[in-house]
C-alpha cells in the first residue's frame, strides 16, 4: 500500500515536471551540449568528413587575430556602454521621479528608444551617421566643420556604435531605477535634509546603496546585452571596416553563416558562454555580499 502510494507521488511529480523539462532540454540543454561536442570536431566538407580534433579548434582560435580583435572590441564596447548608460539611467530616473510639469511625457520620451525595433533604431542612426547628408554632418556643417564618414573610419566606428547603444539602453534601465526610487520613502530624504546632508551626500550614503539591488540586476543585464549585440552591426557596419566594429556574437554569426565553419562557431560560442557565466557569477558573488536587500 504505502509503497505504491509513494511511487504514485513520484510519478505525479515527474508528470508535472515533464512539459517544462522537455522544452528546457530540447532547446537549452541539448544545444549547449551539442555545441560543446561540435567544438571538438573539425569542419566537414563533401570530400573530408568532420573528425575529432580534440582542442584543435581552440588552438586555432588562440592563434586567430580576428578573435582577439573582436574580444578587445567587445571589452571596449562593454566599458564604453555600461557605466555611462547606468549613470544616465540613474540621473534620468531621479529627474522624472520629481514632481515637475510634463513628467509623464518625459518618462515616455526616455523610454521610447527601448520600444523601437532594433533594426529601425539602427536605420535611424544610419541616417544620423551618413557622411555629408546625415544629421550629424549637417549640424557640423553649420559650424563650418568638415564632413566625416563616422561608420567608415576604423577610429570612429566603435565609438559611434557605443553612443547609439547608450541611447538605446539608458531609457530601458531608467525604468528599473524609477521603480526602485518610487519604493524609497520620501521621509528618508527629509530626515537627511534636517541633518544637513547635501544632495550628493544623500545620494552617496543613502540613495545609491538602496539602489544597489537594482544596479546589480541592471549590470548583469547590461553585460549580457553587450555580448549579445548583433542586429545593429548587421544594419550599420557588418562588423567593418576591417573588423573595427566586429563583436564576438557577430563574429560567431559570420563564422557559421558566411564562412560555413559551424565547428569554429561552436568553439567561439563555448568561449562566449563561459565568459558570460564567469562574469555573471563574479558580479553576483562579489557584489551581492555588499548589497542590502530590504
Amino acid at each position: 500500500m504505502t509503497v505504491s502510494r509513494d511511487l504514485m507521488r513520484h510519478v505525479h511529480g515527474w508528470l508535472l515536471l515533464t512539459p517544462a523539462a522537455i522544452l528546457l532540454i530540447a532547446f537549452t540543454h541539448y544545444p549547449m551540449v551539442a555545441t560543446l561536442i561540435d567544438s571538438f570536431y573539425s569542419k566537414g566538407s563533401a570530400i573530408r568528413p568532420s573528425r575529432f580534433v580534440g582542442l584543435g579548434n581552440y588552438d586555432s582560435m588562440m592563434a586567430d587575430p580576428i578573435f582577439w580583435k573582436v574580444l578587445v572590441n567587445n571589452m571596449w564596447f562593454a566599458l564604453g556602454t555600461i557605466p555611462v548608460s547606468i549613470a544616465l539611467a540613474i540621473s534620468m530616473a531621479m529627474l522624472v521621479n520629481q514632481t515637475l510639469p510634463g513628467r509623464s511625457f518625459l518618462r515616455m520620451a526616455y523610454f521610447t528608444p527601448t520600444i523601437l525595433p532594433m533594426i529601425a533604431v539602427a536605420n535611424i542612426w544610419l541616417f544620423f551617421y551618413s557622411p555629408y547628408i546625415g544629421l550629424i554632418d549637417q549640424i557640423a556643417g553649420w559650424f563650418g566643420l568638415p564632413g566625416h564618414n563616422w561608420l567608415g573610419d576604423p577610429d570612429t566606428v566603435l565609438p559611434a556604435i557605443i553612443v547609439m547603444t547608450i541611447w538605446k539602453e539608458a531609457g530601458f534601465f531608467m525604468i528599473f531605477y524609477l521603480a526602485a526610487l518610487q519604493h524609497i520613502p520620501p521621509e528618508l530624504r527629509e530626515a537627511a535634509r534636517l541633518e544637513g546632508a547635501t544632495r550628493w551626500y544623500f545620494f552617496r550614503r543613502v540613495l545609491f546603496p538602496l539602489l544597489m539591488p537594482t544596479t546589480l540586476f541592471v549590470l548583469i543585464n547590461a553585460v549580457l546585452n553587450s555580448f549579445k549585440l548583433v542586429d545593429h552591426l548587421f544594419v550599420l557596419t557588418k562588423g567593418g571596416p576591417d573588423n573595427a566594429s566586429n563583436l564576438l556574437l557577430y563574429y560567431i554569426f559570420e563564422s557559421a553563416f558566411s564562412y560555413f565553419d559551424t565547428n569554429y562557431a561552436a568553439t567561439l560560442t563555448v568561449v562566449l558562454l563561459a565568459l558570460l557565466a564567469v562574469m555573471a557569477l563574479a558580479q553576483f558573488f562579489v557584489l551581492d555580499r555588499r548589497i542590502h536587500y530590504r
Binding site: P185, E187, L188, E190, A191, A192, R193, L194, E195, G196, A197, Y201, R205, V206, P209, L210, H292, R294
Partner: protein
C-alpha cells in the same frame, strides 16, 4: 532663548488653505501638542517649522531669530517621523550617527554622544542590529536616539506613536515625556490622540480645518472649552452638547436648563451627570460596563445623551430614570458654537 514663536502662519495649496492664520508660542523647555482630527493641518504646521514645507505667509521664529526662509538644516531642529525614517541599509549605530557624520563631528565626540544616547533609550545591546530586525518600539527608540545625539534645542514629533500597539504606546509616551523633561527640550508634538495630548502637554493647540480652536493647558481645554468642537473633541465619552430647543419640558428642571435662545446649545460632561430623585426623565438605551465606571446611553424624547456613573450602575436597558446635573457644570455654546458664560442671575 530657543522658544518658538509662530505668527500668522498660512499654507496655501492652490485654492485650498491647509493652515489659516495660525499663531502660537512654545516657551523654551516646554512641550506643546498640536491636536486635531486628520486633515486639520497639524502636520503641515510641524513641517513648516522644520523647514520641509514652504511657508505661504507668516513667520516662524526660534529663539527670537526669524527662520521662515532658512534652510531646514540651519534651524536647530530635529524631528521624529511617524514612520521613524530609519535608513534601512545602516545598522542602529550608523543610523544614530548619521547626522553627526554629515556635520563632521569629531570621532571621539561621536562615540561619547552615541553612548549617552543609547544608554538614555536603552539601545546599548542593539547597536549592530539592522532596522529590519528591530521591533516597532525599538525602531522608535532609534529615532529618539537620533534626535538626542543631534543635541538640537528644538525637537519636533510627527505622530511618533501611531504605529505602536496600545501597551507600547503608553510606555513610549512616558519615555518621550521623561526625556523631554530631562533634556529640557522645546518640543512640538503632533497627534490626533487626546490621551497623548492630555497626559504630556504643557500646552495644547487644538486645530480644526487649519484654524486654531483653542490654546491652553490640558486642564483649561477640558474645563472651559471655548467652542462646541473643543468640548466634544476632548473627553471620553465626549461632552453632551444638546440643542436648547430639544428640551421639551423645562419645568421642574430647576437650574439644570437655563434660559437661553433656542438655537444655543447646552453642554454637560457625562461624568457630571448623576442618577437622582428629580431631574430630566430619560429611558436607558444601553449600558456599557467598563469596570471602574459605567457609561449609560439614554434618551429623553428627541434628546440623546451619555452619562458616566462611577462603579457599576444597577440599571438595565429600558429602565426609566431621572438624571440631574449641577448648574455650575453647564457649558453654554451659542449658535456659532462659541462659548457663552452666563451670569449667576441668569442661571438661577
Amino acid at each position: 532663548m530657543p522658544g518658538i514663536e509662530i505668527r500668522n502662519l498660512v499654507k496655501q495649496w492652490e485654492a485650498f488653505r491647509a493652515v489659516d492664520d495660525v499663531s502660537f508660542d512654545v516657551p523654551q523647555g516646554s512641550l506643546t501638542v498640536l491636536l486635531g482630527p486628520s486633515g486639520c493641518g497639524k502636520s503641515t504646521i510641524l513641517r513648516m517649522i522644520a523647514g520641509l514645507e514652504d511657508v505661504s505667509d507668516g513667520t516662524v521664529a526660534i529663539g527670537g531669530r526669524d527662520i521662515t526662509r532658512q534652510d531646514a538644516a540651519q534651524r536647530g531642529v530635529s524631528m521624529v517621523f511617524q514612520s521613524y525614517a530609519l535608513f534601512p541599509h545602516l545598522n542602529v549605530r550608523e543610523n544614530i550617527l548619521f547626522g553627526l557624520k554629515v556635520r563632521r563631528v569629531a570621532k571621539a565626540d561621536q562615540e561619547t554622544r552615541l553612548a549617552e544616547a543609547a544608554a538614555l533609550v536603552g539601545l546599548e545591546e542593539l547597536l549592530d542590529r539592522m532596522p529590519a530586525k528591530l521591533s516597532g518600539g525599538q525602531r522608535q527608540r532609534v529615532a529618539l536616539a537620533r534626535t538626542i545625539v543631534s543635541s538640537q534645542p528644538v525637537c519636533l514629533m510627527d505622530e511618533p506613536l501611531s504605529n505602536l500597539d496600545a501597551k507600547l504606546r503608553a510606555e513610549m509616551r512616558d519615555e518621550i515625556h521623561r526625556l523631554q523633561r530631562k533634556l529640557k527640550l522645546t518640543m512640538v508634538y503632533v497627534t490626533h490622540d487626546q490621551t497623548e495630548a492630555m497626559s504630556m502637554a504643557d500646552e495644547v493647540v487644538l486645530l480644526k480645518d487649519g484654524r486654531i480652536e483653542q490654546i491652553g493647558p490640558p486642564a483649561a481645554l477640558y474645563e472651559t472649552p471655548e467652542t462646541a468642537f473643543a468640548a466634544r473633541f476632548l473627553g471620553m465619552p465626549p461632552m453632551n452638547v444638546m440643542p436648547m430647543d430639544k428640551f421639551s419640558e423645562r419645568t421642574g428642571l430647576g437650574g439644570m436648563v437655563p434660559d437661553a435662545p433656542a438655537n444655543w446649545r447646552l453642554g454637560v460632561r457625562p461624568e457630571k451627570i448623576h442618577i437622582s430623585e428629580q431631574g430630566l426623565p430619560v429611558v436607558v438605551d444601553a449600558v456599557d460596563y467598563m469596570g471602574a465606571e459605567t457609561v449609560l446611553r439614554v434618551h429623553s424624547g428627541p434628546l440623546e445623551l451619555m452619562a458616566r456613573i462611577d462603579g457599576r450602575a444597577l440599571v438595565e436597558p429600558g429602565d426609566e430614570l431621572r438624571l440631574s446635573w449641577a448648574p455650575a457644570d453647564i457649558h453654554m455654546f451659542d449658535d456659532r458654537g462659541k462659548r457663552r458664560d452666563l451670569d449667576r442671575s441668569e442661571t438661577n
